[in-house]
Amino acid sequence: MPVIIKRILFFVTLILIWEAVFLLDFWPDSMIPSPLSVANTIYAGFADMTLVYDILASFRHLLVGLTISLVIGTLLGVLLAKVKTADETLGTMILALQSVPSIVWVPLAIIWFGFSEASIIFVVIIGGTFVMTMNMRIGIKNVAPIYLKAARTMGSTGMDLFMKVIVPASIPHAVTGVRLAWAFSWRALMAGEMLSTGPGLGYTLSYASDFNNMSLVIGIIIIIGVIGSIVDQLIFQRVENKILKRWGMEEAA
């Protein structure tokens, strides 16, 4: 059976079970809304554009934050890979920071930047930076020694060696870094937005919760998941596979 059929059957079954639970009426509609009412809420949100504006606002926060985190992460990664002392000091700190969930930064961001977009973007930047740093660092440190030897016998040294050999050789790790940074930032974005004053998907989610609008809560969770997996599978996994293949590192994807 093709994968796509399996998936469709799986989701259809899931929705049927959901509908059955709804029809059993054990819980009030405000706790378990019907699939149809969730679908209607999503449709209405797109029809009156409110959800569209939320999605656009979220993407704007993400784009600004992720871009900044990729730039900072790349530079930090290069620093850690190239300067031993930095790796031994700053490196340990970044490793520790990487294990701090990004929602932890939200209270701090609110004190520093108030309930503003700057707060959200700050949390997104923190979310993506460290994972990018660590991947960039590994990428540069793990360049196959044979490439360096070969390049040296061909007269490439210093900056030329770094730009023409080390950087391109580390691209597979960098791409993995970008993919993970996106995933971490996307989670951080939702955490940041839930405590903001809008607009944004996260804001509307917590707003819907405040007004007991369960259909909208579930609808937005679905939208967040769908966007997350679409971006990951349609963009990042494809790019990653292509690069791994080209770089001769493909593991029979």
Partner: protein
């Protein structure tokens, strides 16, 4: 002499053990245009010796001189082919071959040179392919073309066909011999295949292991291209010389394993 290796020794420090004496008092002179093989069991330091000629490693004592200049670092006067093709996967075949030419040639001359050298290894139609699209043997040919593109007089080859199947190996040996005959390069060739060394070399340096040393400077005076029947006798002769060496290495290995 063109390439002189004078009293070269190399040892590696090992934690908590005696330093490993990889090479001891190596003396070797090579004439311009000679094809010289370094032949010996694994661990005899032949690759280490080659990387010192390439300038990738430094002798612990002694020196290596190329045209009277001491070799201290890699340079355009010597090119190297490794056991792995070591092609850059993010570059097309053509870009790989022109990599060493970037600084001193304009684009058009580079492309011309790439085409010329790729033709020499029969791969000109693959100029725009990427390394992962080629077989192992084809990749190694590109690596040879890339080394040739440097147009250095000295070509160093470190078990270049070690990872290839027998068929491909034979074809590439013939190609290298042809290239050598046509370009009058000096080639230093590391191998552990007796047959390969006899097929290609003017001289074979037979090496012993631990510490690595040259035990025989073996001249091959057969006309080229060499025929299997003429080579057979020499093969036995070299084999006899190496056998004692290989036995010694095995014995030492067993003793070491027994003591640890």
């Amino acid at each position: 002499m063109y390439l002189n290796i004078n009293n070269v020794s190399k040892s590696f420090q090992r934690r908590g053990e005696q330093p490993l004496r990889a090479l001891e008092n190596i003396n070797l002179s090579i004439k311009e245009g000679e094809f010289v093989s370094l032949l010996g069991p694994s661990g005899c330091g032949k690759s280490t010796l080659l990387s010192m000629i390439a300038g990738l490693a430094k002798p612990s004592s002694g020196n290596v001189k190329l045209a009277s200049q001491e070799i201290t670092e890699p340079g355009p006067d010597k090119s190297m082919v490794f056991q792995e093709p070591a092609l850059f996967p993010w570059m097309s075949v053509k870009e790989n071959v022109t990599f060493p030419l970037r600084k001193n040639m304009n684009k058009r001359d580079r492309e011309g040179a790439a085409w010329e050298y790729l033709k020499m290894v029969h791969l000109s139609q693959f100029a725009d392919n990427y390394p992962h699209e080629l077989s192992g043997g084809m990749q190694q040919r590109v690596a040879i073309a890339r080394a040739l593109a440097m147009n250095s007089k000295l070509l160093l080859m470190d078990e270049p066909f070690g990872a290839l199947d027998e068929q491909t190996r034979l074809v590439l040996q013939e190609e290298v011999e042809k290239i050598w005959l046509n370009t009058e390069k000096t080639i230093v060739f590391v191998t552990h295949s007796i047959r390969e060394a006899i097929k290609l070399s003017d001289r074979i340096m037979i090496m012993s292991a631990r510490p690595g040393a040259i035990i025989s400077d073996f001249k091959v005076n057969l006309s080229r291209p060499r025929q299997q029947k003429d080579m057979a006798l020499l093969e036995e002769e070299v084999m006899a010389m190496l056998k004692t060496e290989i036995d010694n290495v095995m014995k030492e290995e067993l003793q070491y394993a027994g003591n640890h």
